[in-house]
Amino acid sequence: MADNREVRIKIRNLKKSFTDKKHNTLQVLNGLSLDVYTNEFLVILGPGQCGKTVLLNLILGLDTPDEGTIEFSGGTPAKGEVGMVFQRYALFPWKTVIQNVEACPKFHGVDKAKRREEAKALIKLVGLEGFENAYPAALSGGMKQRVGIARAYATNADIMLMDEPFGALDAQTRYQMQDEILKIWQSKMTTVVFVTNNIEEAVTLGDRIVLLGNKPSVVVNEFVPNMARPRNNLSQEFLEFRNVIADKMDLALT
């Protein structure tokens, strides 16, 4: 099935290390290869510190790999042409909700009336109507990340990177946000690369799940949960799939 799908991002043999002041080298990515297909919901599952954020930063062009290539179908996007939802929200505290959401169009010089209108629609999409003029400090974690999602979609990019976006939320909010992110993904037709360290979240969301090992990391396994959505995390099928991944993850970590 995967073979006749269009590849949106082609990552080959990616290597990345960091060297500190004492000349100790930390190899983080060790020849990672990966295809991201157009409009899929890809989950990258990996333990903490394995290099997931480093990988996303390389895809975003915030950092450069030591070796290897990242190719996008249709050419490397400029800054502001790939959406990013950050692990710790990274909202602009001095901007209101609507000002945060319209940040990208503002940087790009889109005129105010137009970007306001688009921002309002996105705020509605993420369920924050009525909070347009609130500051992030006044919002709960779940609401902050809704702003983060709306802000990323305001780029109008067709690729969305999400770095453990629900990692800091309580379980109940997390489930709710998982439902909503799927709805948004389906309504907007985007390629999503969703990073998590939570197996259940991976099985709930992914079209495809790519498992990374401990650093120096490579892709150690790939899973395709052929289950209809919404997935019931108490169903036999779900639990079995979960256990299969858990076993492989334990193996990968030892």
């Binding site: 502001g80 990274a90 901007k95 790009h108 400090a137």
Partner: protein, 262 residues
């Protein structure tokens, strides 16, 4: 969660405690100075002297004009220090080459107390308005630079990354991401600078001047008019408190996001 906090909070009349402290202070002052041979005036003496000073000019200058003269020196120098200090701080924090060139020099001069410059400044610029303003400028410039510089250097890298990822160019990154993030620290620096500016103006005026609140203190000292010294001190405190109040209001207006949930 917020509700719980509110109901759990017991009613404590904090303002009563504040008043208690004031009463103890002035009461103590009175008790310690009430005897007729006390060399320090009582609070009542100071109030009486204050109303006298309101009526009769000192050194041919009425009280309000002494205050105005000092205010003019402080604000002139403070404004210049604010503009140049923020500019210098941003350049230090944002541009690595600039930092490498000027930071060691700045760091070397920074610990010199502004008052220590007085002899050299007087030597170079005489005793007019300019030298006094230069002293105040030196005092105010240093904390403004320091706060601005450290704020720019410490902008959350995650927030900067967010700006880059959302397509901000280098100029937008500085003016629309980094600097807004620094406003609270810059304002904190301005507040510190304002109180230092007051200290400096008083010190400069005590040494060389014919008007201003520092001059009043000096005149009181020369004439053994301790009540006048204390009137001047009260005036300085009152003007300082007013300016701090205004700066706090300014902060509320400029940084509305800081007052959320507080």
């Amino acid at each position: 969660m917020k509700k719980k906090e509110k109901t759990a909070k017991k009613f404590t009349p904090y303002w009563l405690l504040s008043i208690l402290a004031l009463v103890l202070f002035f009461g103590g002052w009175y008790v310690l100075t009430a005897s007729p041979d006390s060399i320090i005036p009582t609070p009542a003496d100071v109030v009486v002297r204050f109303f006298e000073v309101l009526k009769e000019p000192i050194a041919n200058v009425p009280l309000w004009e002494h205050i105005l003269v000092s205010l003019r020196r402080v604000f002139g120098a403070f404004l210049a220090a604010a503009v140049l200090g923020v500019l210098f701080g941003v350049l230090l924090g944002w541009f690595k080459t600039f930092r490498k060139i000027f930071y060691p020099l700045y760091n070397l001069l920074r610990p010199i107390p502004p008052i220590a410059w007085i002899p050299i400044i007087v030597l170079l610029f005489g005793i007019g308005e300019l030298p006094k303003m230069i002293i105040v400028f030196i005092g105010a410039f240093t904390p403004i630079v320091f706060n601005t510089y450290s704020a720019v250097l410490m902008v959350d890298p995650l927030v900067l990354n967010a700006g880059i990822v959302l397509g901000a160019n280098e100029r937008q990154l500085l003016f629309q991401v980094a600097l807004p993030d620094c406003i609270p620290s810059i304002i904190a620096g301005l507040k510190t600078a304002m109180s230092i500016a007051w200290m400096c103006v008083v010190a400069a005026e005590m040494i060389v001047s014919r008007a201003g609140v520092g001059f009043l203190i000096n005149r009181g000292m020369e004439n053994s008019d301790t009540a006048l010294v204390m009137v001047s001190m009260v005036v300085i405190a009152a003007v300082s408190a007013t300016i701090t109040f205004i700066l706090n209001k300014l902060e509320e207006v400029l940084c509305p996001w800081l007052t959320i949930g507080k």
